[in-house]
Symmetry: D5
Subunit: 154 residues, 10 copies
């Protein structure tokens, strides 16, 4: 992970009091993709890069950096220690094999692409929590959509 | 992973020509949860267990096994080699930190629960693929919903 | 772990001759939680952060840092080498499975939350040591309390 | 972990419909210690072993096994995948360094013994949950007590 | 890797004195793909499976096994010890980053698919070896062809 | 990997707007080999080094560095997180054993050299994509050629 | 390991031409313990710290550092590469289980404390080497003494 | 570790109610070495092997096994989970570098041999425990003696 | 490593009281290569295999097994625990980089082949030991000879 | 590995255009040992150190450094990525067990010392290459000689 540029972008975002939602609107992209761009897991077009630099009040030379292809992978290798991130690892541990069984039963031998792929995060009211509306009753909803790629034979 | 019981259940499922969808209807549960139960990542009530045993034409003694609390974790430790499962690990590698940044910006310091949690898999037509409707243009849609748990102070 | 800010806070604490107990009183929080905050494993409110900065005689800019969501995990991955910390790993090695068996027998299939969770450390006189009252006869008492979260079915 | 003997004991416990609480009373020991004994992390006296064999309706030859010194460690090495057990690893990750800081501030350079050590699990009503009394509002309370051992100089 | 079925297939292949080339012709597929099928890294259609069973003189029940979706990954995790296989790992170590740089310069931000992918092995005369034609002057030629998948933005 | 010199060379390449193709022509070498040289996985002759320094407008002292024997290995050890590079690791996981079986069947007991070895990357039109010619239908073609080395007996 | 302070102390020790033996006399402690203190594996009293600072001609501010509780562990994790240190790891590999068997047979279920523990190194003449007295015939004698701690029951 | 033969020997030792001390006398060897032999970390002479077989009332064919050269290493690789054995690993972690410093200062560049090496375990009264003589006041004394081997120059 | 066949061969070798030297003469090969064949790290010709089977008085079906290409690697991965084998790992740790420096200085950028390679073990009298001729003064001499392969450019 | 001093020595060696052969003559030592000294895997006498400093035209303070006992181990732990060095690891993987079998058959239970040990590298003409004398036909010859150390009994 290119820590330096990520830190510079995150600081500028904080100073300018902009949320990922705000930046998403500026670029015409989902906030999740913008977060991925800032953590250097995605590549901007020249146009997107200069819009971002402008919104964050950063010098244009950062534009170039944002259009380079990053070496991806935002986590230290192996198993994450941060509890929020670990839960996703745990979900894979517990539901990985069932997920494989279900996808293959319905789609055949192949994979869900992680490249032709989108990821969204939304806030959701917990059905049980209606009427109370306390923060505790909020749910996180994550939607992944990836193209199914069947194995080729030759 | 309790391989023996999982294998017995999967074989019975195949012999009886039942899909996870079919079993989901028998138990009144989502096919994903049924797959998790069969891979021994979830615990059935006595009623669910006997319905499943009956549908799969298995002796009642399997009922007891399905109501025991399993030691969870369906993957070999560390990094999975199966390409379908690996893609989920890669998604976490690439989008883990951006996801954390976005969830915390919107929900505060806490996590998405992997316990008070549901997971669904659906088939989705690829918008670009309309008209051709070939298998290749199918998309996998995965929806996760977990309660947000804020860190307690004391 | 954000080492720089932790070091600055620990040095200021030492210079001002304040114990975690003292800081706990200043913030109206348990000394354990204050230690977790200083090691950047917890997030302060703006009010808590400025009280801490004041008590430690630090410039207000540290306030902002203390309200940011940290990437958690205060140990190097895998197995700790420090003997004091290792003992907790050993306790988990020796008593992990028995603990799981007991909790599940009494509470059902689920977990003890590590988020809606508190942790206290107290000094305790060793019953065998009464009368001698030497330091050697002191015991460490640790009390954990976490909400039980049952696995959801869907 | 001596899996075979543990499995035999757990099966007998289930067949005889005895909880760890029941067995604790039979042996005059805490249920936690009995669980540790059954998972072969502790060593019984000849008397305790024969009481347990009798209660579980097992042949006396198991008595001998329970008095042998086990090779301890009930988890696979490294990082556990079972969510219930993982939470204890996470607690150590997040609160390990703060715990060290607090214990050393109050007790000096040394460790909490994991040998001259006891561990208890209790059910606790969640203060916030009073009146509703639903299962969801239950808390797990864990109390550890270990002798403090100061580092010797020579 | 499903060792049992692979061993049965390899033994039958040897007894029947058939090369992968021969089996490729029987199935109308590349010998490489047939080897992948036998090592249970690929899935046969019902027709392909029964042709293979017939050629190898095996009972039809193996047909079913060959049409199931395998858990893929034919190597022990991490780093292979067999010298022939290790060389491919070494090639990736030495030429991995240069390869990434070159592919991204020419194709943009994306990957070469390992799913919509073919792999061929051929014998090649070493230009320097002409005239001598000793075995030592033979070269191995490997051709990979995978669809380029660009990263999607959303 | 000698990161400093690689970074200097890549920056100069970008400033001078030269592709690996261009540099390949300057040196009379394949672009792949030039990329390997820039990532310090290969060693230049004095002549090649000074041609490269000149093309990239760098001071002659870099010439010396490029003729030194590098400690090779361009990836962090173990398993790469970058999706483009990981695919090659996955190919080895899935096709490693089949590849071994096929090469040994045709060549005998030995290996494909990774030293007397060449590697090429080409763009290839996807047969299915003819007429549309969209970027999505491009394929990456990789050709490896290594001398076969039979095991010596003594 | 706090490398900076260790390096400063070792340099000062060399400049002042003092052996661990000399420093042991200054502090009234075993040379082994002094070495442990310098490598920051032990904690000095204020008096011991200032004696050491004086003997090594260092500014008094190092005194404070030496009285802080160090994060212990003087080796990189896992398996040491230095031959002298590796031999102790090998001794544990070869004699670990026999040692456990013997200690438990004679002392019961428990451990030898590594906290209430002393360690000495001495030079010993090799009985076979008498008369020659060459350096080669010297033996290293290491004596460990740790309190036996029996497992507590509760 | 050759588990089968070790288990057979340990069972016979228990059935015959012989301690390692007893067996040491039978063979004219230290009990520690006998334990190492039984755990197959040492090689018996034909005479020693048949004495041991006789004492344990085992058929003579075990004699042959005990004279074979074992593949040594009695622990699972990496870090032991058994608390008794772990303490020796911890001693090496904490005192490894100080030990190296001290040995090299007194002996020069070289190692303590783990081959021309003996290891003894003794019971020792704790000076502080005199008068009480409780089991708790017992100490474990371990004495290692290894030939010093200086690095050769050539 | 194919343990079963290796064990059968080693047992037969012992029963027939044949040394590797004897078998080397039977096959007309170096004892080292014969040991490698028996540990299934090398492949026999049909003639060599049947000579070996005959010498060891084994049924001819073992002949076939010895002509198959083994999956090589005779050690558990990572770092060996057996002291004799570990020393070779240590030699590589200590002398690996110096060896690389020396070979590259004299031969250029390339490697010593481990395929076109021979390995011999001999007994050598220690020059210092002359006159005493005790076993202790024996030296092990190992000679490796591998073809130098220079890196190819393309 | 003390990288700084190694780098300074290697640069000086290059500037002064001296080969390891040249330095070997200056010090009256084998070039291999000199390379080991420069990579800080060996310890010089005061005399050797000052000869080397003089030959390399370095200030005398480097003399002191070269006489200190280094923490040895010139490779990153685990498995080396550099192809030249990896081949030695592979040799150990493939020939480790056969080597152990052969050495023990001829020498008894013990090891080849890596301390009382010498290592030489020589250029050797390939018998098959005579007449052509091309560089490609060169062989690397490595000779190791280590004292055999038998296991002590006690």
């Amino acid at each position: 992970m290119n820590l330096e540029i990520t830190e510079k972008l995150l600081t500028a975002k904080q100073v300018n009091q902009l949320s990922f939602q705000d930046l998403g609107k500026v670029l015409g992209r989902d906030p999740m993709w913008v977060a991925a761009l800032i953590y250097r897991q995605a590549t901007a077009s020249a146009d997107e890069a200069s819009k971002l630099a402008q919104a964050l009040d950063l010098s244009p030379e950062i534009t170039q950096k944002l259009t380079e292809f990053p070496v991806k992978g935002s986590l230290d290798p192996i198993i994450p220690t941060d509890p929020l991130i670990y839960r996703f690892y745990e979900i894979m541990q517990v539901y990985g094999m069932p997920l494989k069984a279900l996808i293959q039963e319905e789609f055949g031998d192949g994979i869900m692409s992680a490249i032709d792929f989108t990821l969204k995060v939304e806030k959701e009211a917990d059905p049980k929590g209606v009427g109370e509306a306390s923060l505790k009753e909020t749910r996180v909803k994550i939607t992944m959509s990836g193209k199914f790629l069947p194995y080729k034979k030759w």
